[in-house]
């Protein structure tokens, strides 16, 4: 690509999104070189900010005309390198497509542009409920919301949630994002706009294209609009806070609660190392000598929650919980969940380089699995913290490393790979909610048989025959090789790009 061509490209993009809608200077682009998986880094050629679906389509056509690869991005809160641009690709960032087009309480559907923030949507729904009830005092509706609640929900977008099929703390009872998406609008790599819904319908006959697009990580189309199912927002809770001397016992409690047929809203475990990190940062009063803290929440009809609460506490007690507290006080509850959601922020105070694994395993295997994961870390000389969605079996071991030490980066990636292989071996998956991105690309052939990988590649080719849309993410690319184990430069160990003209690492 010549410089003249590049200038022409940027001029064309500016013509679509305006001068303020295009970033090209190196200092501005620095922000977009990685997401939450900082091992994978790449600098985009430019970042464009369309504000309408038509602008997205026009940008796509322009980029195709210039033969430039496209990387869709929302807020960039992903944790698998799914929105990192390599090889001169341009990022199309939907974060300025923030319009909430409609909130239809009677049908319980909201339509939002892809860049609307998750939390903003639920706030707008709450306001609409209040307005509705002023006019319908005789038969009011209860609180509603868009249920998916990733820890990033204050920053992440509805489109990003759908594109990665984001999970969160409440998914144990209330489901992941795709359970709450009724339809999507997306732009194909040739600029065509496709919708899977045109009205507030809860079913569309035929194969479920909406389901396929959810979690496709921007590799099939660029999501521009989402039809979101609105569900009742729980109003009554009980939150149980239990402390253990052994992590195994906390995990056994989780497994036993599930096995008893109780379905809490959430069950979250923090191990001892994580408790200390959070306590040092925020001073919630957690016992720093504990091996594990288990937070369990139930929601539902107020008058029956205490019955469930007693059953849960009995199970925790039987599994050796050394301290059990519960609360229904909203203030204390908010504090407890704030501690959980701020766990990653607390880590950021201590370490600049870490990444979070995301395997999911059968819940009955949780106690042994967590012990094994810690052991694998130790075998590689690594410290691993654990904070995870225990009720789903979704483990999040956090690996710390020194990014200036290439050998340590290598060792960390090897340990992470062993953890994932172990999880596959016991019937689990390599990713429960973060997605494959580039982080877990190498594990895909271990997770799926060759015919399944071939099916994924053919599906990709059906939507994107020239492999221009987020190429190299989710499934191995035939044209772009991204190699995490090799330094791109002495200053950036890991996260290297090996385009086809470079000899691939074996």
């Amino acid at each position: 690509m010549t410089l003249a061509t590049r200038d022409e490209l940027l001029d064309d993009l500016r013509g679509i999104v305006g001068p303020a809608g295009l970033l090209t200077s190196p200092d501005e682009l620095l922000v977009y070189e990685c997401d939450g998986f900082s091992v994978a880094r790449g600098t985009p050629r430019a970042v464009a900010f369309p504000t309408t679906t038509e602008q997205v389509a026009a940008c796509v056509k322009t980029l195709r005309k210039h033969g430039v690869g496209i990387v869709p991005r929302g807020s960039g809160t992903g944790l698998a390198g799914g929105c990192v641009a390599f090889d001169g690709q341009v990022i199309l960032c939907t974060s300025r497509m923030t319009k909430i087009e409609s909130i239809d309480l009677a049908d319980r559907v909201a339509v939002a542009q892809a860049g609307a923030l998750n939390v903003t949507l639920s706030e707008a729904v709450a306001a609409e409920v209040a307005r509705w009830n002023q006019n319908h005092a005789e038969l009011p509706v209860g609180p509603m919301h868009f249920s998916p609640d990733p820890s990033s929900q204050r920053a992440s977008t509805v489109g990003g949630n759908a594109a990665t099929n984001a999970g969160g703390i409440n998914t144990l009872k209330h489901g992941v994002t795709s359970n709450h998406v009724l339809g999507v609008e997306f732009v194909l790599p040739d600029g065509e706009i496709v919708r899977t819904r045109t009205a507030a319908l809860y079913e569309s006959p035929g194969p479920d294209l909406t389901g396929l697009l959810c979690g496709s990580e921007g590799t099939l189309g660029i999501l521009t609009k989402v039809w979101c199912r609105l569900t009742p927002k729980p109003e009554h809770f009980r939150t149980v806070y239990t402390v253990y001397t052994l992590t195994f016992d906390a995990c056994k409690s989780v497994s036993d609660v599930i096995a008893a047929g109780i379905l809490p809203t959430s069950m979250e475990v923090m191990d001892g190392r994580m408790i200390r990190v959070v306590e040092d940062a925020f001073h919630y009063g957690f016992p720093t000598d504990a091996a594990a803290l288990l937070l369990i929440e139930i929601d539902g009809v107020d008058s029956i929650l205490d019955e469930q609460l007693e059953r849960i506490m009995a199970i925790c007690r039987a599994n050796g919980a050394r301290d059990i507290k519960h609360c229904s006080d909203p203030k204390r509850r908010t504090e407890l969940w704030s501690a959980r959601k701020r766990a990653f922020g607390a880590i950021g105070r201590l370490h600049t380089a870490y990444f979070t694994q995301d395997a999911c395993i059968p819940r009955s295997r949780l106690p042994e699995a967590v012990e094994r994961i810690v052991a694998i870390g130790a075998e590689h000389g690594l410290k691993i913290n654990n904070v995870f969605h225990a009720g789903d079996g979704n483990v999040h071991p956090i690996f710390f490393f020194d990014e200036s030490n290439a050998q340590e980066v290598q060792r960390t990636l090897e340990a992470a790979e062993r953890v994932l292989q172990y999880c596959i071996d016991i019937g689990g998956t390599i990713t429960g909610e973060h997605g494959v991105g580039v982080e877990k690309l190498a594990m895909m052939p271990r997770m799926f048989n060759p015919a399944t990988i071939d099916t994924f590649q053919k599906l990709k080719a059906t939507f994107d025959p020239d492999a221009v849309l987020n190429d190299g993410k989710l499934i191995p690319s035939k044209t772009l090789r991204i190699e995490l184990h090799r330094p791109v430069s002495p200053n950036v160990p890991g996260g290297a790009l090996c385009p086809p003209h470079h000899p691939p690492t074996t």
Partner: protein, 389 residues
């Protein structure tokens, strides 16, 4: 008509498809309750069905691995040994594969969702006779494309599911069934969202008509204490609504509740004509009343899922082109869609689905990708040219 081939092992399924590739004789499997859905099979074809059972029940995980050929009746029986069940409204003689292929659901969707929400993973044979594994056994999984969801409702046109991983749930200690009498169908439209967002949210909701009286049936699953609390909450909501009154309530077992739901469904299966109309939920009652006011109004048997905008319309009537046009227009009027399920025509006169969903061209392209030789239920619904994009 050639006999139906029964497949017991996945290897036999792969061999059957590979043989079909060589002979170019397509394979058809419409199930036992969906033979009227879509165009009729081509004259020359091999009909097949799958047999099977529950393979593994991971009781402590509340999941199960099931042959797609296992019947719903057999699955429920196996799960009940551990006091668990698969919360789906489907007749006992349907296989799990048929339920997945046709996205079968009913009133229980309010509390438990559809197969889209209950399925964790699939093993299926593609149009080349290859064994494809998507999703898995765990309850959260975003590895690879979600082909599991893509196949729900795909009517066996993209692949033949032979094994599935599903979520299971605890059998409730008690079911409390409640019947409301409703003054008019349209009054339900404004009632559903307040009900579903209140502490009285039921696990199922079904609008029916008996002897000219509209009845809204609903149920609560839980302990006796919990059900009583929800019933009290229901009384409070009803007290605020107009045109509704509670006429019956009954505590029962899940088996009794399942039998009642099956009886309601059974009427549909006996209908000479049956079409499903999907509209925005808050238009369900309005669509019901519009159907009643149509030329066929007094002859129609209608039941509806008001929480999800689904109306089942049929009865002992002749499904002629005028009726087809009327129900199609009705769907369009509400920005909805209608799907033929049982029709006494030759199976080729009416389009099976109208209006076609906006993503249909993309679905046709996917059909070509997953079944390149057009061997799996060819011509059923995914027919037409792929428009180049």
């Amino acid at each position: 008509m050639p006999p139906t081939v029964t497949i017991h092992e996945p290897a036999d399924l792969f061999a059957l498809i590979q043989a079909a590739q060589r002979s170019r004789v397509p394979l058809c499997h419409y199930g036992v309750a969906h033979t009227g859905l879509g165009h009729r099979p081509p004259e020359r074809h091999t009909a097949f069905q799958l047999a099977g059972e529950v393979m593994e029940h991971y009781e402590r995980d509340f999941t199960a691995r099931v042959h797609a050929g296992a019947t719903i009746g057999a699955i429920q029986k196996a799960l009940s040994a551990a006091s668990q069940f698969l919360p789906i409204d489907a007749d006992d003689d349907l296989t799990l594969g048929e339920v997945i292929d046709h996205n079968v659901y009913g009133p229980l969707r309010v509390g438990y969702g559809t197969m889209r929400d209950l399925l964790l993973g699939l093993h299926y044979a593609d149009g080349l006779g290859r064994d494809i594994h998507v999703g898995g056994r765990v309850v959260k999984n975003v590895a690879g494309y979600d082909v599991t969801k893509l196949l729900v409702g795909a009517m066996g046109e993209l692949g033949v599911v032979h094994e599935a991983f599903v979520r299971t749930y605890a059998i409730p200690s008690e079911v409390l069934g409640v019947t409301l009498e409703v003054d008019g169908a349209a009054s339900v439209d404004g009632f559903v969202t307040p009900l579903l967002t209140s502490p009285a949210k039921p696990v199922w909701l079904h609008l029916t008509e008996e002897d000219g009286t509209l009845r809204l049936g609903l149920a609560y699953y839980g302990s006796s204490l919990a059900n009583t609390a929800q019933f009290e909450a229901l009384k409070s909501v009803i007290g605020q609504a107009s045109g509704m009154k509670i006429v019956a309530s009954r505590a029962m077992t899940l088996a009794e509740d399942a039998a009642e739901r099956a009886t309601r469904r059974g009427r549909r299966r006996q209908a000479r004509t049956l079409v499903k109309i999907i509209v925005p939920p808050a238009s369900t009652g309005e669509a019901w009343e519009a159907l009643r006011q149509s030329a066929w109004g007094s002859q129609l048997r209608i039941d509806a899922l008001p929480a999800h905008g689904v109306l089942w319309v049929g009865g002992d009537i002749t499904a002629d082109s005028a009726f087809n046009q009327a129900v199609t227009d009705m769907a369009r009027r509400f920005d909805g869609v209608r799907v033929w399920h049982t029709r006494p025509d030759a199976g080729s006169e009416f389009e099976p689905i109208a209006p076609l969903p906006p993503d249909w061209a993309m679905l046709l392209a996917i059909k070509k990708t997953m079944d390149p030789h057009g061997l799996l239920n060819p011509g059923r619904t995914l027919v037409g040219e792929v428009v180049p994009t």
